[in-house]
């Protein structure tokens, strides 16, 4: 096995090996301090390995790993955030109960979420996707509060639903091919000609949209992300939703345009971008606002991919990954920032809030930040029509949401006692923040195809600035949405659905009642005779 292949395999196996190591008592006590090491092989792989590196596992493990450009971009960002958040977690959770369990779930989620970015065969993808989804439950429900338990339940139900969508889609994808476990690329190449094409695409979109949190499948996200401990929220919101992005990137046939499906995805994305922002400004907890911001941002990625699918433009994949990288680092940084800011007071508070504000506005596309680069890079893909304007307006929404977030942060931290977060938390936060501001510059030329200088033109800047100004004006004009905050419960439409729950709960109760009747002897005996007669009639008719 070549060194490159070995590194790729290590990227997947290292966290799993660490999780297995937790069986040993001696290792268990040291594992929290080592969490930051687990994603490093993946980070190295993302940095050093050329796109196209591939490795097949020996029989009976059917799995093929391969690195390509979008995968490498997302892998690098994700591994970086995992590492920083791991270091943060070691400090944040020190001495709290259930730490070992948390570490095991952390490592398993890590392995799954990174593996999904580099796996190339369908069964392997489903395996790692499932690993990430199910293990993340341990992170969501870790706090064991009522809210965490409810979030965990909702998360689990919807995650399993998403799994079901995907499983059926994958099975139909693979059904027409000779190899029972084809490479994703081969299966997708055959997709446009498949008789079950529309069903497959619909199920794929449903499954991955659930993971990305597109409205109305987003209900779990604003519950689950804030419920987790701070570092876990960072990776859930920063990395795990990208499993949906990479899913769409890998499984949608960008080579062959599907205008209808592209349009559907784009519209769903735009609506999500607006909806996420609108619902977010009605929230008052910083983590929940960030979660809604994730919903909104994933809507933009979906719109981008939808545009690419409609046009049959394969470069959408790389651009979506680039936008995803930006979001990974910024959103991860913001969640860490919330933790650090809550622990900072006095003189330490303002530098932290300033950096937080910068990150927040980067998400809205503040010039010179990664957000600006990301938005500039994707502009050509969106064209210059309605979609482009719609996305720009979404940036206005982001601005409003982020201003709301900053305002809430300032208010919430106002009474902090003068203190400072430990360096174990400050340092990861600073590193992520710095990386989020710097790394996108480095990748911009390869992805956008244009030189960095093209981003400096007045026209480009104007494109970025007018939505932000619009957002600022609206924010000012409506008085900071003071009246709105708290109006919409976390999980919005889920709460409405839950009000209908008693009605829904009647079905299982009815089933239980029916079961009780069926299990009465005279009824069961009669049913048996009925079956005899039914089958006898059927056989006689068939003969």
């Amino acid at each position: 096995m070549s060194p490159a292949a070995l590194l790729l395999v290590t990227a997947l196996l290292a966290p799993l090996a660490m999780a297995a190591g937790c069986l040993s008592r001696a290792f268990r006590s040291r594992v929290p301090g080592l969490l930051w090491l687990a994603p490093l092989p993946a980070l190295l792989a993302a940095l050093w390995l050329p796109a196209g590196t591939a490795v097949s596992f020996p029989v009976p493990f059917r799995m093929v790993l391969a690195l390509d450009q979008p995968g490498a971009i997302l892998l690098g960002g994700a591994a970086f955030l995992w590492s920083a958040a791991g270091a943060y977690a070691a400090s944040y959770l020190r001495g709290k109960p259930g730490l070992t369990g948390f570490c095991v779930w952390w490592l398993l989620t890590l392995a799954g979420s990174l593996g999904v970015l580099i796996v190339a065969d369908i069964a392997g993808f489903y395996l790692l996707f499932t690993l990430a989804s199910l293990s993340a439950y341990g992170l969501v429900a870790h706090e064991q509060t009522d809210a965490a338990r409810r979030a965990g339940l909702v998360y689990m139900v919807l995650a399993l639903l998403g799994e079901a969508f995907l499983l059926f889609a994958f099975v139909m994808l693979a059904a027409g091919l000779p190899d029972p476990n084809p490479l994703i690329a081969d299966a997708v190449a055959a997709l446009p000609g498949s008789p079950m094409r529309d069903g497959i695409v619909a199920l794929l979109m449903l499954g991955f949209a659930l993971k990305m949190g597109l409205i109305p499948l987003h209900v779990w996200l604003p519950l689950a992300h804030p419920a987790a401990p701070m570092p876990a929220s960072a990776v859930l919101s920063g990395v795990l939703v990208k499993a949906g992005v990479i899913g769409l990137v890998r499984f949608l046939p960008f080579e062959a345009p599907l205008p209808t499906w592209g349009a559907i995805l784009a519209i769903a994305g735009i609506l999500t971008a607006y909806g996420g922002a609108a619902l977010g400004v009605a929230q008052r907890r910083p983590k929940t606002i960030l979660a809604y911001s994730t919903v909104s941002q994933m809507g933009l990625v979906a719109a981008l991919l939808g545009a690419g699918l409609a046009a049959g433009d394969a470069s959408a994949a790389g651009l979506a990954a680039y936008y995803g990288l930006h979001h990974t680092l910024v959103k991860g940084g913001l969640f860490l920032a919330v933790g650090v800011a809550f622990a900072s007071g006095g003189a330490r508070r303002w530098p932290v809030l300033l950096l937080t504000g910068l990150l927040a506005l980067s998400l809205a596309g503040l010039p010179l930040t990664s957000g600006a680069l990301a938005k500039l890079a994707v502009k050509p893909m969106l064209g210059y029509g309605v979609l482009s304007i719609a996305v720009s307006l979404a940036a206005a929404g982001s601005t409003i949401l982020m201003l709301h977030f900053i305002a809430v942060m300032v208010r919430e931290t106002a009474d902090n006692p003068p203190s400072s977060a430990p360096w174990g938390e400050n340092l990861p936060f600073l590193i992520v923040a710095a990386a989020s501001l710097l790394i996108p510059w480095w990748l911009y030329p390869t992805l956008s195809g244009g030189a960095l200088a093209s981003g400096w033109s007045v026209a480009s800047l104007w494109k970025l600035v007018w939505p932000m100004m619009l957002g600022v004006v609206v924010f000012m004009a409506t008085g900071r949405f003071a009246g709105l905050a708290g109006r919409v419960p976390e999980g919005d439409i889920l709460v409405l659905a839950e009000r209908q729950a008693p009605r829904l709960a009647r079905l299982p109760a009815a089933i239980e009642g029916l079961d009780g009747r069926l299990r009465l002897w005279p009824v069961a005996g009669f049913v048996l005779l009925g079956l005899v007669i039914w089958l006898g009639g059927g056989f006689l008719l068939a003969a």
Binding site: Q144, N181, A524, L528, A542
Partner: protein, 506 residues
């Protein structure tokens, strides 16, 4: 006339598979309680060797094993025959039996005062009876001989249900006995009609008959529901939940993992081997409808159970449903040979992985009940912290039931779904998916309790030795390891099948 059966090398292994446990039961009866366990363990070891040898012989000869008892050719005599599917069933049975035996040895060993008592001694003898009956069901070719095999199963299984001697389990056992008897009677009646029409009860001889009258239709219409009653498929599952939930853990494991598979296996024989194509198609449709209803209905019921063992028992009824939706998926009755299809393989894998996972789960539940003193799911918060291995067992077995990769259950579900997608059976595909979701729900309910950190640590009523916890864990790991099998039809399952399929065709 050339004889229908020619004995093959290794055919005597089939006799051994049936007679060894039966002989062991006799020896136990004579030697008395003090030696029962030793005899049982020796028989278990020998039985596993026989199953292994049978498998090797089958693979080596690539043909079905045949034995003609007393050298009396059917129709006058009785023949034993083991094709790929039978051998797979023999092997699964041996594995689960061996694990159950070891588990029971440890479980009964917890309490030295009762290790040689009524419960343990009866358990061992009945277990041997069960094993003999199961093996006979899988290899016999004669419908009346199969009736005797079914009765062996019933008479061994019913007392197992009420071994703990409480009134509720007596009621459960009585209900089980009566419904199972009703099933056997219908089966026997059908067999009588077949004899009247064909003058033989040999499966192959009946299958090779060219003309089928109304006797065949009515006989099948009696036998299949009769067997369904024994398999506890919805809506005939009245007896199963209390019976399997009330039995001692080791007994529940065998009952749920193996015993209800025997009638399913016979239904398969009837529908796929004997029934004329038209009837087979009708039966396939009806069975699939019932199977799908079973999956959905009983999964919801499992979700609503308060007690762990009842939940697992309802899950058994739900999982049995998957075996019945195989019929239309494999194209039984539409004139093609189903043996090579992925649905067929998926069904076999579902059967195997469910047997392993369910046995592991019942044993795990037994450990929990033994350790905590109850099995109310609500009050089990944090059992994962005091019984980490058992919680792991439960989780791994749960993966297989839910069909989450990597596990045998996942591959089975994948194959069935693929068959449904290719065959255009959308409603079956949706049922499979919904069943997986609901299974996720009830497994999750328990795992949530296992992982919980209650304020007060769960109190153990008695220490649980590691050896006890290891056995179900091994079974659960096996169920997961099945997930590494290739996603393709097994060659093994086709051994000895095509000739019968041809005989059925006009």
């Amino acid at each position: 006339m050339t004889p229908a059966y020619a004995a093959t090398p290794g055919g005597l292994l089939l006799v051994l598979a049936v007679m060894l446990p039966a002989a062991a039961a006799l020896v136990m009866l004579v030697l008395g309680p003090r030696h029962t366990r030793v005899v049982a363990l020796i028989a278990l070891a020998l039985g596993v060797v026989v199953a292994l040898a049978t498998g090797l012989q089958l693979v080596r000869s690539q043909a079905a094993l045949i034995y003609v008892l007393g050298n009396w050719q059917p129709p006058l005599g009785v023949a034993l025959r083991a094709d790929g599917l039978s051998v797979m069933m023999l092997a699964v049975t041996a594995v689960v039996m061996a694990a159950t035996g070891l588990f029971a040895r440890e479980l009964f060993g917890l309490d030295l005062a009762t290790a040689d008592g009524r419960l343990a001694t009866s358990f061992w003898i009945l277990l041997m009876g069960l094993w003999s009956g199961l093996n006979l069901v899988f290899v016999s070719q004669d419908l009346f001989n199969l009736y005797v095999a079914l009765e062996l199963l019933t008479f061994a299984a019913v007392p197992l249900v009420c071994l703990d001697g409480r009134g509720e389990t007596m009621a459960a056992a009585l209900r089980y006995l009566m419904f199972a008897l009703l099933g056997s009677m219908l089966y026997l009646l059908g067999a009588g009609l077949l004899y009247g029409a064909y003058g033989t009860l040999d499966i192959r001889l009946i299958a090779s008959a060219s003309h089928h009258g109304p006797a065949m239709a009515i006989a099948l219409a009696l036998m299949i529901p009769g067997l369904l009653a024994k398999a506890a498929l919805f809506p005939l599952h009245l007896w199963l939940p209390p019976a399997h939930a009330g039995a001692p853990a080791a007994a529940s494991a065998v009952l749920s993992a193996l015993v209800i598979k025997a009638p399913v296996f016979l239904i398969l024989r009837l529908v796929a081997d004997i029934a004329p194509p038209g009837s087979a198609a009708v039966a396939g449709q009806v069975l699939a409808v019932l199977g799908a209803a079973s999956i959905l209905f009983c999964s919801v019921m499992a979700l609503r159970q308060e007690r762990l063992k009842l939940m697992i028992a309802y899950s058994t009824v739900a999982q049995i449903g998957y075996l019945f939706i195989v019929f239309p998926l494999a194209g039984v009755g539409d004139g093609t040979t189903p043996w090579g299809t992925i649905a067929w393989t998926g069904g076999a894998l579902q059967l195997t992985s469910h047997a392993l996972a369910k046995a592991a789960m019942f044993m795990a539940a037994g450990i929990v009940a033994e350790a905590v003193g109850h099995d109310r799911i609500r009050d089990l918060g944090g059992f994962g912290r005091v019984l980490p291995l058992t919680a792991t067992t439960f989780g791994l077995a749960g993966l297989s039931l839910m069909g989450i990769p990597p596990s045998g259950g996942f591959i089975a579900k994948c194959l069935l779904l693929t068959a449904a997608a290719i065959g255009g059976h959308l409603w079956l595909a949706l049922t499979i998916l919904a069943g997986g979701l609901l299974a996720g729900g009830y497994v999750f309910r328990v795992m949530d309790r296992a992982l919980a950190t209650p304020a007060q640590r769960l109190a153990l009523q008695r220490p649980i030795p590691l050896r006890l916890e290891i056995i179900p864990l091994v079974l659960a790991v096996l169920a997961v390891a099945l997930g590494f099998l290739p996603l393709a039809p097994f060659g093994l399952l086709q051994i000895g099948r095509p000739d019968i399929a041809l005989a059925v065709l006009p």
